[in-house]
């Protein structure tokens, strides 16, 4: 009966994906605006009024993190899932209604997230900052319905096989629900001390390892073959990627606590499996770059490919850093410095965001059945992001090395703060390029929806058959 209610007289195809894509771009704009506040505060601490608590660094930093991870990246994922899953299953999305409601519930959830974090209502545990009613809300109204919708679409598919992208979509939705629940366990049950810190960081690691990394990869697995016109280089390497992510990426949570008094065996286990992350990472990069064989001229011509491939290329330094910086040999030097902040931005801003923006430049005009409003603005967006990000990453990495040296030689702490000031100014300047590129993105997509040239199909497309009855 629920299925009848959710699928009967459904909204037009693609409604949910359009909602998710537009919401995600708005969230991206809010997220980077918060980043402007935090980065300016670090360079010039008195630049914003000091008597307004909502403008303090400690209040806006968690809002920035949650808006880019759960607002921008996760919603762009939801949009890509609602668009690509039906396309690969040769059917409709199981329920566009459920998808649209899911999107509005998600946006409402982000309003709650903003309100609680800006008022300092938090658990005090990084990446699991949200208070327990919101944890429950996110599991029940954000990830839960999305998982049901995507899994049901896969079960009702009309295509024979399941493509690599679908393995990752299906599995990651299971992973994120499990990981989020484990991260929230200390909010619901009396878990304290080391176990609490460990569960927090296990979840923090797996938001990246089991949600952001695999779903970004899944989107690249869809766009790169589709736009280049080549078939995927190797399904076997895809298998290697998939299974090694499930096995190795789910265990290294403890490497965030290498300096904490947790048991040494747990650190060693995490560190070794952390190095093994190289296997899925290299499998993915090789598979994507080889798929581009003979089509590299398209790298500069096609806008979605330019974004997606740049994201794939960022995965190379990302995973080399990620695999080795968590070993004891390196971690003692760079732990807790700006180096780590640079690495986190390489993952979320370099690798992941570039691929999702590629997905939006590819998918949204197709969903709207219109041509992109302005290719020039899209190019401007790309170069502002690319130059801004590379500068931002270089500046923060250098600042991290300065802090690492200061830490090792144990000079008075204030000297390292003074020494990193020029880098913090650089961070604002390069960061501004990234931040002010996003309104251009929003404007371009809005104008595409309103005034983009309509695409007239050459032959009338056959109507997609209604989904099979339950």
């Amino acid at each position: 009966m629920i299925e009848r209610f959710l699928t009967d007289r459904d909204y037009a195809e693609g409604t949910a994906a359009k909602h998710f894509f537009f919401s995600s771009i708005v969230m991206l704009n809010i997220g980077v605006l918060m980043a402007l506040g935090t980065s300016m505060r670090l360079a010039w601490p008195d630049i914003l009024p000091n008597d307004v608590p909502w403008l303090h660094f400690g209040r806006i930093r968690p809002v920035h993190v949650h808006f880019v991870i759960f607002g921008w990246i996760s919603m762009a994922f939801a949009g890509a899932m609602c668009y690509m899953t039906p396309a690969l299953c040769k059917t409709r999305l199981w329920s566009e209604k459920l998808g649209v409601w899911n999107c509005w519930a998600w946006n409402l959830g982000m309003v709650f997230v903003f309100f609680t974090l800006i008022n300092g209502m938090t658990t005090g545990r990084e990446y699991q900052d949200l208070i327990w009613p919101l944890d429950a809300y996110i599991l029940l109204f954000v990830f839960g319905p999305l998982a049901v919708n995507i899994w049901m679409t896969m079960l009702r598919r009309r295509a024979d096989g399941l493509y690599v992208t679908l393995w990752f979509f299906g599995a990651s939705l299971l992973f994120i629900i499990l990981s989020y629940f484990i991260g929230a366990v200390p909010d619901f049950f009396p878990v304290t001390g080391l176990s609490e810190a460990y569960m927090t960081w296990w979840h923090a690691h797996n938001i990246l390892g089991l949600w952001i990394t695999p779903v970004s990869a899944a989107i690249a697995y869809y766009i790169i073959p589709k736009v280049s016109g080549n078939t995927l280089y190797s399904h076997k390497i895809g298998h290697l990627h998939f299974w090694s992510i499930a096995a190795f990426y789910s265990t290294p949570g403890a490497h965030h606590l290498m300096g904490a008094p947790i048991p040494e065996w747990l650190k060693s286990f995490a560190s070794v499996s952390g190095v093994l992350i190289m296997i899925p990472a290299l499998a993915f990069v090789v598979n994507m770059l080889m798929t581009m064989k003979d089509k590299w001229w398209m790298f500069t011509r096609s806008i979605p490919l330019q974004w997606a491939l740049t994201g794939v290329l960022f995965a190379i330094p990302l995973n080399i850093q990620g695999a080795f910086q968590q070993t004891r040999a390196l971690n003692w030097y760079i732990h807790g410095t700006h180096w780590i902040v640079a690495h986190a931005h390489l993952a979320l801003l370099g690798f992941s965001t570039f691929i999702e923006i590629g997905a939006i430049y590819y998918g949204l005009p197709k969903l709207l059945k219109r041509e992109l409003y302005s290719e020039k603005l899209a190019r401007l967006h790309f170069w502002m992001m690319a130059i801004g990000f590379l500068g931002f990453w270089a500046v923060l990495t250098a600042a991290g090395l300065v802090q690492g040296a200061a830490k090792v030689y144990e000079i008075p702490y204030i000297q390292s703060v003074v020494a990193t000031h020029p880098y913090m100014v650089g961070r604002v300047l390069f960061g501004s390029l990234i931040i002010f590129a996003q309104p251009i993105f929003l404007y371009n997509m809005w104008m595409t929806a309103r005034y983009g040239k309509k695409i007239v199909p050459e032959t009338p497309a056959a109507p997609t058959p209604a989904p099979a009855a339950a």
């Binding site: 303090h56 660094f57 209502m121 003692w332 144990e410």
Partner: protein
């Protein structure tokens, strides 16, 4: 559904739950056996549970067992822990920030506030380094007056009462 997909789904569930069993269940079970030290028992008594709860939705800290406990709630609410770690590292930091905590020292604490992104001095032993109350009062209202070059926010919006609580919390970190 073709049998190969059923096998694949089962295998995936086995892999992910095996990983959770080894790391989360194994690790937490092992760590829960570490007994709290005397210091941890004392801290648990004065701080209590400091994360958000329905009894104190605005994180005022008024339900904390002591003034230091209230200070810890405000320390969390104002996001001090985004820059100040409470974890001198085992490999260095000894001379400047003091001894790293033992495993038993954080048992029973919630949340433990190790921090991950240190942009300011570690505070685990701040009371052993600086016990001058007046310095702390001035430092919170106008950090650059006592530490030129500091990037700490000037906490002009805190009431005198809240500032008292924060300084009581800092004094409990010895």
């Amino acid at each position: 559904m073709p049998p190969k997909y059923v096998v694949g789904c089962c295998l995936l569930v086995v892999v992910i739950f095996a990983s959770i069993a080894i790391t989360v269940v194994g690790g937490s079970t092992y760590m829960s056996q570490i007994p709290p030290t005397e210091l941890a028992r004392e801290k648990e008594k004065i701080w209590g549970h400091s994360a958000w709860s329905v009894h104190d939705p605005w994180m005022t800290g008024n339900h904390a067992p002591t003034l230091a406990g209230k200070g810890k709630v405000i320390f969390i609410r104002e996001g001090c822990w985004w820059c100040h770690t409470l974890l001198p590292e085992q490999t260095q930091d000894w001379a400047y920030f003091g001894e790293p905590p033992l495993a038993g020292d954080v048992q029973g604490e919630s949340p433990s506030l190790f921090g991950s992104d240190r942009k300011a001095p570690d505070l685990l032993h701040i009371a052993s380094r600086n016990r001058v109350k007046a310095w702390h009062y001035v430092h919170h209202r106008d950090p650059r007056a006592v530490t030129p070059g500091s990037i700490m926010p000037a906490f002009k919006h805190l009431t005198d009462e809240e500032l008292d609580a924060i300084i009581a919390f800092l004094e409990s970190l010895h």
